[in-house]
Symmetry: C2
Subunit: 187 residues, 2 copies
């Protein structure tokens, strides 16, 4: 029995977020989330018609937290701002591996009353805006950069890059990525 104040919908999502962090994404069964929220296993059905739609709501909460962190990023120059955003993205993925995995599960895309895909659009818009000060065709470059960050986050979690490059220091890799897409750092 967690706090009983908020409505069950919020409590279920909160329990799911906590469970993701504590036990990982494979522990997110409908019944365990309901247990943690202190209700029977049939109760979530009032708010989430299916298991996937509940997972989708939890993932949406994750996107919200990432967006909040990203909105707090600043930078003296667009380049510095982008570097800060990249760091925030990669840190989020490393510190919240279960949530990050959940956020990009493709079978969650269509579940829930709102599409999950659109949730990342505002963040991408900021990326495009910052890139437009540095590069022509900013939408393409921003897309390529986002893909690169996403791939870095995934492969870092996989451990492949550490094995392949022989080190787990990601600084040179991140610098190489930023230089590649944005051009070498200007003095």
């Amino acid at each position: 029995m967690t706090t009983e104040d908020p409505d069950l919908r919020s409590r279920l999502v909160a329990a799911g977020v906590q469970l993701t962090a504590e036990e990982g994404v494979q522990a997110l069964s409908l019944r365990e989330i309901a247990r943690r929220a202190g209700v029977s296993h049939g109760a979530p059905r009032r708010y989430f018609p299916t298991h996937l739609s509940l997972l989708s709501a939890i993932a949406r909460e994750g996107f919200g937290r990432l967006a909040a962190r990203s909105a707090a990023a600043t930078g003296a120059t667009p380049r510095a701002h982008l570097a800060e955003l990249a760091r925030i993205y990669l840190d989020f993925a490393r510190e919240n591996p279960g949530m990050y995995e959940l956020m990009f599960r493709h079978d969650l895309l269509e579940s829930g009353e709102l599409g999950l895909r659109d949730t990342s659009l505002p963040l991408f818009g900021l990326l495009v805006q910052l890139v437009s000060d540095l590069r022509p065709d900013p939408a393409v470059v921003a897309g390529a950069l986002w893909a690169n960050l996403h791939g870095l986050a995934q492969l870092r979690r996989w451990g492949s890059l550490q094995l392949a490059t022989g080190t787990d220091d990601f600084e040179p890799l991140l610098r190489s990525v930023l230089d590649a897409h944005l051009g070498p750092e200007t003095p």
Copy 2:
């Protein structure tokens, strides 16, 4: 009852590969794979101690097929060779979405008698070798490039980049990625 000639181990993996292509990764239950191989649900246990280790073997088969395709790639220049490899990688991910998803499931990493992580090392070695003709610090650049291709494959499947860039033409994106990491194409 599929063909009974090869040993059950191979038949199970083959049934899993087929099932992945036909029904997707969520259909890969132990019992359904056993059913397709024409044996009882307890039989796989002789060869794969756990469900995950069977999935891991199926993913390994996927890496083998990708490696075979990659080995057939050629190019007049390292740059052309790399471009061909990139295209093969992205095509494989698009044409075998279920298998690609399975290959990079992080909970499969440690299952099976051989680590799955090492399976991608030879391919990465080829990448490093080709990049070394074009760039200093080829391990870092190859790592960044691989991460970028992986991110492209994932986000293309997710549909986010199509939504964000307003087009589903990946040619400019791929060209931007190759130019970014390898330098602009030389005449």
